[in-house]
């Protein structure tokens, strides 16, 4: 059997020079590994996969991988991806986005893609901050946390990503972390397999900004803390609410069957034939 890292090497672009743009220890690379292993496991032809991303550290992921790759404008990845998918429904379309990209500037596209239930897999790398622009607060920065634009503590509230995605109409919603890699591989595999709009929140570390500004430690400490702060959904179901205070739940939040948008459009085309 191949080692985990060997699988990644098979999917790296031969012509794209390294080093990559990420800080040493950044969790985005771990998400890239999970994505590659999921695709490899599913044995989807590379030509049939399009990765679409917006702008941010997380959105730099597609450039390294040997697929069709579309690095777009800030916040708009899902809107570009909607065009790719509707124009070519047999393409597997996977969006790589950050918490700022997807939920702040791109929040409207996110809820509408979910509402349409278009068959796109969204991997939302949540590091609770704007990494690329140097540590400003995002829609998932915890209340009272520090960021360069919340020097006295963040006075806003966080989005709950799974709740938002479910309420907007997503078919599959899950959360994993860059510590729990095996689980993350599985969640991404399931999300890609799902016909409909699927979301995997991949909780990640930005030690460079979030860690430093909040004294949360270096990459190793931040990733290690994920182990301590996480409770799987199944275990949480049996625990009293006070024990869940301040904890992060992981696992599959929703997995439902509903009609997919491109399928419905194809049925429309079929029904209009000869009319």
């Amino acid at each position: 059997m191949l080692q985990k890292s060997d699988v990644i090497h098979q999917y790296l672009r031969p012509k794209k020079a390294f080093p990559n743009v990420w800080c040493p220890g950044c969790g985005i690379g771990i998400v890239m590994g999970s994505l590659v292993r999921a695709i490899d496991k599913l044995q989807i032809a590379r030509d049939d996969i399009t990765l679409v991303s917006g702008i941010g550290c997380s959105s730099r992921l597609p450039v390294y991988l040997d697929f069709n790759t579309l690095h777009t404008t800030h916040g708009r990845a899902l809107a570009f991806a909607t065009g790719v998918k509707l124009a070519k429904p047999k393409m597997k379309v996977i969006v790589i986005t950050g918490d700022g990209d997807c939920l702040a500037i791109g929040g409207n596209h996110f809820i509408h893609a979910a509402r349409r239930n278009i068959d796109i897999t969204t991997i939302l790398i949540n590091n609770m901050i704007y990494g690329m622009t140097g540590g400003q607060f995002s829609p998932t920065t915890p209340s009272e946390s520090f960021a360069t634009t919340s020097p006295y503590g963040n006075k806003e509230n966080q989005f709950d990503i799974p709740k938002l995605a479910i309420a907007a109409g997503a078919s599959y919603v899950a959360r994993g972390t860059v510590y729990h890699v095996t689980q993350l591989d599985e969640l991404i595999t399931e999300a890609i397999t799902k016909r409909g709009f699927s979301v995997v929140e991949a909780f990640s570390n930005c030690h460079t900004y979030y860690g430093r500004l909040n004294r949360a430690g270096d990459a190793v400490k931040m990733i290690d803390d994920m182990k301590k702060n996480v409770i799987p959904l199944k275990a949480a179901a049996k625990m009293p609410p006070e024990k869940l205070e301040g904890k992060m739940l992981t696992g599959v939040f929703a997995d439902v069957e509903k009609d997919e948008y491109c399928d419905r459009y194809d049925q429309l085309i079929e029904s209009l034939k000869g009319k």
């Binding site: 450039v63 069709n68 404008t73 065009g83 124009a87 070519k88 393409m91 409207n108």
Partner: protein, 378 residues
């Protein structure tokens, strides 16, 4: 027998789009352009094409770029406020060399302005709307019939030059009904982008060739390339090397400017011995034509210049058009506070006076108004 119809300008866009081979439209409703979306929502699925109403104009522009990357022929349609929202992604289509057509049925502005009234106040936004250096292609039809042909031409130019092309209409043209003789299939050109023939490992999605034209593969064709709005090398990978940056921006500029002879259409009449020239585009050109006829009845020597391609500017052609020794004054008539006049000032000979006839009260410029201006300057 000829197919004669009574069509609205916006319906003419729909007809032109279907004749030109449109396969994908994304848009967001806005007066006075909405009939374009409504028409295509009805027609596209009947021929296996795709129509989608997006959540806003930013998303509409994004969706057509995404679709174009898979090989679709794409279009969106909007008016002022939506055109403003599209600007960032129009720049994306330009740097990422993605063919697509943006129809802007202009209303009065700024802001929400005059949703149901006419203006030509986005002339400069079409040229300079997105940030960074940019060379726009924009066409301005004057009639419903011409709208059909220029819609096809806009699609052709975008495919030929791998760049966004803007069709600049206005409220009156969009909503006015006129008799149209439908073009017979086979009597007009339909251009489809050139596809690569080289093996995948030789292919460069942004190749800089001597002609500056380069073939374009689609996602799924087996080439697996990278597309980005970051300034990139020929492979599509971000670059910070000054030579590569220069080469890319130089290519973008010259892949259009080297072909102005093909891209730029300017119609002229009676310029050989004219003392006065009237420059007007879009619907104003029709008033200009009538005014010039009236002036000629009064034995005044007046010529007409009608830019059909309003961007880019074909400097050399304008120098020729304005080269007659008899020419003394150029009037630029337009429905804004004087936008294109600055461009005409740039290309007019030094000794010729350029004056602006600007109307921005939401009414059309009348032939009488132009005639009066001709009398005044003569």
């Amino acid at each position: 027998m000829a197919d004669v119809r009574l069509l609205q300008g916006n319906e003419a866009v729909v007809e032109g789009a279907m004749l030109g081979g449109l396969t994908f439209f994304a848009g967001y409703p806005i007066t006075p352009s909405t009939e374009v979306a409504e028409g295509l929502a009805r027609k596209l699925p009947k021929v296996g094409g795709k129509f989608i109403q997006m959540e806003d104009e930013i998303a509409s522009m994004a969706a057509i770029i995404g679709a174009a990357c898979t090989g679709a022929k794409t279009m969106t349609a909007t008016s002022g406020p939506g055109f403003s929202l599209m600007q960032e992604n129009i720049g994306y289509a330009y740097i990422a060399e993605v063919p697509c057509v943006i129809v802007n049925v202009q209303r009065g502005g700024p802001s929400t302005g005059l949703p149901t009234k006419v203006a030509q106040a986005d002339t400069m936004q079409a040229r300079w709307g997105t940030h960074g250096d940019y060379v726009a292609i924009a066409l301005a039809p004057q009639s419903v019939e011409e709208t059909i042909m220029l819609t096809i031409r806009a699609m052709n130019l975008s495919e030929e030059y791998r760049t966004p092309v803007i069709l600049l209409m206005d409220e009156v043209l969009g909503h006015m009904r006129e008799k149209v003789v439908m073009p017979e299939p086979g009597t007009f050109k339909v251009v489809n982008r050139t596809k690569p023939t080289v093996p995948a490992n030789w292919y460069k999605h942004f190749e800089i060739t001597p002609s500056f034209k380069s073939p374009m593969a689609s996602f799924g064709d087996g080439y697996r390339f990278h597309v980005t709005g970051l300034t990139h090398n020929e492979e599509g990978f971000p670059t910070s090397e000054s030579k590569k940056i220069h080469d890319k921006l130089f290519k973008l500029q010259n892949k259009i400017m080297r072909y102005v002879d093909d891209i730029c259409e300017i119609e002229t009449d009676g310029m050989e011995d004219a003392h006065v020239a009237v420059v007007a585009y879009g619907n104003v050109a029709r008033a200009a034509k009538q005014a010039i006829q009236m002036a000629r009845h009064r034995r005044m020597k007046v010529g007409q210049v009608r830019p059909i391609t309003i961007w880019p500017t074909h400097d050399k052609k304008y120098h020729e058009i304005f080269s007659s020794k008899s020419l003394e004054v150029i009037i630029v008539a337009e429905l804004n506070q004087g936008q294109y006049v600055t461009e005409i000032e740039r290309v007019a000979p030094k000794h010729v006076k350029v004056v602006s006839l600007a109307r921005f009260d939401s009414e059309l410029i009348t032939p009488d108004q132009i005639l009066n201006k001709i009398k005044e300057v003569r």
